[in-house]
């Protein structure tokens, strides 16, 4: 069943249709939110907010809008709000930024201690480089790299133009090239 049909059923109170949407998108939305806010616990909270908002505002959804784009837009806004709140409350997870905890406990790792350290250091460096990007560059980069969205879809999710997305990705690549010099050289 198409996303639009599912949403129309959700609007009529069909819980099973809502569950199908959650099942279909929870991985992608959680992935984006976690990468955006920088830690799994916050990422899961934000992803939950996204689906909760979708349910709460289900009657506002218009079939003209692509559901995935609609969800990504909510996810980006919610993630940005979470980061801003955290900055305001000074609750940045230094433990996480140091890269002390594995991102995904189930992820396969190299058994050699020096290789594990190298992997974690690399991960930590990359995370910091991505977190330091300006908000819009970071959004465009995450949607392109990890969600594999087209420029048009990114533009729609960010409420901007395709040429602006092109420019954001160009600048993001240039900035990362400088900040990831130790990793890529």
């Amino acid at each position: 069943m198409q996303d639009t049909d599912l949403m129309l059923r959700v609007q009529k109170g069909d819980e099973a249709a809502f569950n199908k949407i959650v099942e279909k998108y929870q991985g992608r939305i959680l992935d984006l939110c976690t990468r955006y806010v920088g830690n799994p616990a916050d990422g899961e909270e934000v992803a939950m907010d996204v689906f909760f908002q979708l349910y709460r505002t289900r009657l506002d959804y218009r079939p003209e809008a692509k559901l995935s784009t609609y969800l990504y837009r909510i996810a980006v806004n919610r993630s940005l709000n979470r980061i801003r709140d955290r900055k305001r409350r000074r609750l940045v997870s230094f433990e996480w930024l140091r890269g002390d905890r594995p991102f995904d406990p189930g992820a396969p790792e190299d058994d050699r201690p020096d290789a594990r350290l190298e992997t974690k250091e690399r991960e930590s460096l990359v995370r910091r480089a991505v977190d330091r990007l300006p908000e819009k560059q970071k959004t465009a980069l995450l949607l392109r790299k990890y969600e594999d969205l087209s420029y048009e879809e990114i533009a729609s999710a960010m409420g901007t133009t395709v040429s602006a997305v092109e420019s954001l990705l160009f600048r993001a690549r240039e900035t990362l090239k400088k900040n990831l010099r130790p990793v890529i050289s």
Partner: protein, 151 residues
Amino acid sequence: MNCRDIEKWLSAFMDGELAPARKDAVASHLGTCEACRSRLAEWEAVWRALDALPAAAPSPAFRGRLAARIHETRPAASERLERFLIPVSAAAVALLGFWIGYIAGGRQAAAAQFPESAEAVYLDSFSSVPTASLGDVYLSLNNAIEPEETR
């Protein structure tokens, strides 16, 4: 076409987002320009480095917590009934008020239209009553009391 022209399209070229004609132009330039090839290679290395951030997976409790949160916002059955009854009761009261107003308004309008006939009907009913009847007694008592009250 020089490097500056190519530079602005390089990102879209790498993402496969260029129109065929422009894509061919960039590819042709890259074939002859070492500097642009080098830049593209660096960007590709950046892109690969980003793979270091692993994917996240939802915890087993995610769906359950989401369902609980949605359930919390739903009104209970009694609350739903209350939400239904309040507007219905209000509408019924409003309708009753409107009906009473309509009836009273109609009577007043009739009285205003025919004041003489209303008075005539009232007076006629007491103008001639049989002697020694109840009406006769009432009228004689009323006539006897009235002058004293007005004094």
